[in-house]
């Protein structure tokens, strides 16, 4: 069947608001999380290669890039979780008022950073 649905206008045509920022970030982190989950799966599969080969991963996980990776991973997933919860409220018919969307959008953005810091520090990775 031929699909005649129009595609979305490019995001650059819109003025930026909290809601649009959270919306596009939700999509970007969604795709990012998909890619990150594939990497996690490859990591789990690589365990079959044995302890000796795992040393290569240890070098990566202890490096600066490894730390950046895990912080980025945590942030991206927390953002997705908070934004998804925001969507649940919308699905139930709550939170559509302009002021509320700004507040919940801000909570998603700030909350993702705050919770990432809390989780990262609480688990003592920085040490």
């Amino acid at each position: 069947m031929k699909n005649d649905n129009p595609i979305s206008p490019h995001i650059q045509v819109y003025n930026w608001h909290i809601s649009s920022l959270v919306s596009i970030s939700h999509r970007i982190t969604g795709v990012l999380n998909y890619a990150l989950l594939i990497l996690v799966c490859f990591w789990v599969i690589s365990l079959l290669l044995g302890e000796k080969n795992y040393e290569y991963f240890k070098i990566f996980s202890n490096s600066f890039i490894g730390k950046f990776f895990i912080i980025g991973f945590i942030w991206s997933y927390i953002f997705q979780i908070l934004s998804e919860i925001r969507h649940w409220f919308w699905d139930m018919g709550y939170g559509f008022e302009l002021k509320t969307t700004k507040i919940t959008g801000t909570i998603v953005i700030l909350g993702s950073f705050i919770l990432t810091i809390i989780l990262y520090i609480a688990k003592g990775i920085l040490i």
Binding site: G30, I38, E51, G66
Partner: protein, 107 residues
């Protein structure tokens, strides 16, 4: 029921299943990311993490495949490109979690 409505319902159900397991995995990955080989193997092979991790990857891949197909719908105009992109995401969302779960069983 419209195809789009069915897709939306599946997306919402998988999202409700996925989020608690996502939280569980986040709380654990910060610990096991830097752990020694034996600790990581014990984590993935012991119960209940073996089951929880399997549900986490299956629900997240399922949710992601549906969500990413929506993105393709919005931003890809060429039907052929859209079709093969969806097929790629669908197949990888099926094969990768399957191989991962089999790997955990054989660990």
């Amino acid at each position: 029921m419209l195809q789009a409505t069915k897709k939306w319902i599946f997306q919402k159900i998988s999202s409700v299943i996925m989020v608690p397991f996502m939280i569980w995995f986040l709380l654990n990955i910060v610990e096991i990311f830097n752990a020694e080989y034996n600790e990581v193997v014990i984590f993935f092979t012991s119960q209940p993490s073996k089951i929880l991790f399997s549900i986490f990857i299956v629900s997240t891949f399922f949710y992601s495949a549906l969500s990413i197909s929506e993105i393709f719908e919005d931003y890809i105009s060429q039907e052929n490109v859209k079709k093969y992109s969806n097929l790629g995401v669908f197949l990888s969302s099926l094969i990768i979690p399957l191989i991962t779960i089999i790997s955990i069983i054989y660990l």
